[in-house]
């Protein structure tokens, strides 16, 4: 494609792309190729679909588009057939023949394959009618399911790079910063620092300034950034270029996890294409402004999400944080003033410039503006990515959008904020989620991980899990974090193995206080949060482990066993068939027996029983 030499050229390109779209009468099939759907087999479906279309001679009449993540990852692979918007979830290769024959050729809906809402048991034909999508407000994530992330034309045709054009030709640096300040945008990585103020501070320091995108999404259980990187990489580039104009920077970096190969690939393609047409690189759109973006791959170290560690890693060193007497906006990467924002923050910037700070600030709460994308996962019916206005209640997210807890089990807690966050119990489900509310109950919103836990989740095990994670990820520089977390983990492991002692809970609290006060970086200071919130809200579970040597949730193997409730057992024999140890015996239609000596507590019978006859003791 020809290089765009001025802003009119971009406008002309957009208009011609839109014209082409209007004239295009081809049927469009969008197939989600995000990592969630890919894990369920998008590649096979794509291959079979293309073969089937060729067989029917429809290759030229139908366009198949591999898009980014649609968000409803539970139901992957997802296929949407346009213009009607017919939604087929969990598509398998063997469905393709019927879909092509009926829907593609005749516009007929295949009733057996459409989505069935588990709450109402009603079938839903169109994507926009599905409750999971209907209750969301997709400001940042909206284009993910529409565009091909490897096509810059697709991004431009939906209005992409119009915010850049506006910032570049009609606004001064100060005006851009003011607009971002006025919007109330705060750092989406979890810190919540006002973005406009960060930009302004960075700009005030002299030297070679750097603009950096933190795509080292390390929180286990959170994958919003991955989906934006994979599904709409240009929105991040556009945000970064606007940031660079405001701050006065000519060099940008995206620090992205090596574990996200598709994100690295799509981002690299986006950078190449943007450079090819003159949106990135020298003399952007003929404005005289120069800006380059480089991709740097991280190496699987959680601590590199911390700003000073990230910058050390960018410099080719081990990612160890330093004390922040001097902030990175003054001296960061290569000693230059460095402005670091997270993926989602950057993706919000074009929206703000395009639609205006007032529009943006009308969404959300007093202190937290705009929308937030959450990764709603764990024991919830509709897992996936959910974008809602700040302030939406946990109950709306988990029950109305998420569809509640599967298999009629009981909600126990929701873990927010990753290893730095905490577990929130049922009594706080009506809290609105934003930067400030969740802090009041001991957790944080963090980067947006939301892991739902049900009655089968042991809260002591969850605390142990996070400390095990943090022990591995501690960089080892400062003693409170390195040694303190290790000691806390040993105590928790003892409790989970039935070796807990009176006084352990108090000792955990004492160690937590020390680690919070004296650790060098955020990893250490927030490390005790998962332990403290579980002690605060689920102290009875800790006590059951320590005093009664029981794990009520049936997770800590030395502290429970399974029994068969003779009254509830119908003798259906399903558990006996599934047991890998042949530990269950009994005649059909009569209560079964479980041989404790053979049982390895794998839980397969517990999961299999439809009558709740396998019980945890």
């Amino acid at each position: 494609m020809a290089r765009l030499v001025n802003r009119n050229a971009l406008e002309r390109l957009r208009n011609s792309l839109r014209d082409r779209q209007v004239k295009n009468t081809k049927r469009l099939i969008s197939l989600c190729a995000g990592s969630g759907c890919a894990a369920y087999g998008t590649a096979k479906v794509y291959h079979t679909l293309n073969e089937e279309l060729a067989k029917h001679g429809l290759k030229d009449e139908v366009e198949v588009k591999l898009t980014g993540c649609h968000g409803f990852c539970e139901k992957g692979p997802i296929m949407v057939i346009h213009p009607e918007g017919i939604f087929y979830p969990q598509v398998k290769e063997e469905y393709i023949h019927e879909i092509v024959e009926k829907t593609v050729k005749n516009g007929e809906v295949v009733n057996s394959l459409i989505f069935k809402d588990p709450a109402t048991r009603k079938k839903v034909t169109y994507e926009h009618d599905i409750p999971f999508y209907k209750l969301q407000k997709r400001v940042v994530f909206g284009n993910n399911g529409i565009i091909d992330p490897t096509s810059i034309e697709d991004y431009i045709s939906v209005g992409g790079y119009s915010a850049l054009e506006k910032a570049l030709f009609t606004m001064t640096s100060d005006q851009i910063i003011d607009e971002v300040k006025k919007s109330g945008l705060r750092g989406r990585g979890g810190g919540g620092f006002p973005t406009g103020i960060k930009w302004e501070t960075c700009r005030q320091h002299d030297g070679d300034r750097f603009v950096i995108c933190n795509a080292d999404e390390g929180d286990p259980g959170a994958y919003m950034d991955r989906s934006i990187l994979e599904g709409n990489p240009h929105s991040i580039l556009e945000g970064m270029i606007i940031g660079a104009i405001a701050i006065g920077s000519h060099d940008g970096y995206v620090y992205v996890r090596h574990e996200y190969p598709l994100a690295v690939k799509n981002l690299s393609i986006a950078i190449e294409k943007a450079k090819d047409i003159g949106i990135l690189g020298e003399n952007i759109l003929g404005s005289g402004f120069n800006f380059e973006i480089h991709v740097s791959r991280g190496g699987g170290a959680f601590v590199c999400g911390e700003s000073t560690a990230l910058m050390a890693s960018l410099e080719g060193k081990p990612g160890r944080p330093r004390a922040k007497y001097i902030h990175t906006v003054e001296k960061g990467y290569k000693e230059g003033p460095s402005n670091l924002n997270n993926v989602e923050t950057w993706a919000n910037v074009p929206v703000i410039i395009d639609k205006g700070a007032d529009w943006y600030a009308s969404i959300g709460t007093e202190g937290s503006k705009g929308t937030k994308i959450f990764s709603l996962v764990g024991k919830v019916v509709n897992t996936g990515l959910v974008e809602v206005p700040m302030g939406t209640s946990l109950r709306t997210i988990i029950y109305d959008i998420g569809g509640g807890i599967p298999k009629n089990k009981k909600f126990k807690a929701v873990q927010t904020g990753g290893p730095s966050g905490g577990c929130i119990p049922e009594q706080f489900l009506d809290l609105g989620v934003d930067f400030d509310e969740l802090k009041k109950v001991g957790s944080i919103m963090g980067s947006g991980g939301m892991i739902v836990m049900d009655q089968d989740t042991c809260m002591v095990d969850v605390a142990r899990y996070f400390l095990d994670f943090l022990k591995e990820e501690s960089c080892g520089q400062c003693t409170p974090c390195r040694e303190g977390i290790k000691q806390m983990l040993e105590i928790l492991t003892d409790i989970c193995n039935g070796r807990g002692k009176e006084g352990d809970i108090e000792l955990l609290e004492e160690l937590s206080d020390m680690i919070q006060k004296f650790s060098l970086c955020g990893l250490g200071t927030s490390a005790p949060n998962p332990v403290l919130t579980t002690i605060q809200y689920f102290r009875d579970e800790y006590e059951a482990h320590i005093r009664d040597k029981k794990c009520p949730a049936g997770v800590c193997k030395p502290l429970f066993h399974y029994e068969i409730d003779e009254e509830a057992c119908t003798g259906c024999h399903l558990c006996a068939l599934k047991c890998p140890q042949e530990a269950i015996t009994g005649e059909k239609k009569k209560p079964h027996n479980l041989n404790q000596g053979r049982c390895i507590k794998c839980g397969i019978c517990y999961e299999a029983c439809k009558f709740n006859a396998v019980v945890i003791k």
Binding site: Y40, C73, E259, A301, L376, E473
Partner: protein, 160 residues
């Protein structure tokens, strides 16, 4: 497990050139070398030292700090069991135990025939599809102990 490998010095130089021999790209260069051999053969360290102009101590420090680089030989197929929070509460540890029993190796170990290495990874970002494993660059979701073992058996069958 020791095996002799022949190092393709030309290819390694091409990798270094693709990063303009920039010492800031040390980690990425080692990751690319890992993609060739599934580990960074210590024999390449002197070349990295010379071409990037960095000290041996820094190379070892970076190689041991980051999880994506190994100085020990690894199997042809690297199995990563995701142990992120979402996978954990949906039973990732059961998947890990099943694979460990199936392959008769512990976490971080490689089978005697050098076919598989079993590792745990902290979240691959497919949290809605958990439990998840990756085998080299392929992702498999919605697993339990038996389906995970089945996947590995398929790799085994195809390799022989």
């Amino acid at each position: 497990m020791e095996k002799e490998i022949e190092i393709d010095w030309h290819k390694i130089n091409v990798i270094i050139d693709s990063y303009s021999a920039n010492n800031e790209s040390l980690l990425m260069i080692m990751q690319d070398i890992s993609d060739m051999y599934n580990y960074v053969p210590p024999e390449v360290v002197p070349l990295l030292e010379e071409r990037l102009g960095v000290k041996k101590s820094l190379i070892y420090s970076v190689a041991t700090f980051y999880k994506t680089v190994s100085l020990e030989p690894r199997g042809k197929y690297i199995i990563n069991v995701c142990t992120g929070t979402a996978c954990h509460i949906r039973g990732a540890s059961k998947v890990m135990t099943a694979l460990s029993e199936k392959l008769n190796i512990g976490e971080g170990e490689t089978t005697d025939d050098a076919l598989f290495t079993l590792e745990a990874v902290r979240c691959v970002g497919c949290c809605a599809s958990g439990p998840v494993i990756t085998v080299n660059h392929e992702i498999y979701g919605g697993l339990d102990s038996s389906t995970a073992v089945k996947i590995i058996e398929d790799y085994e069958a195809n390799a022989t």
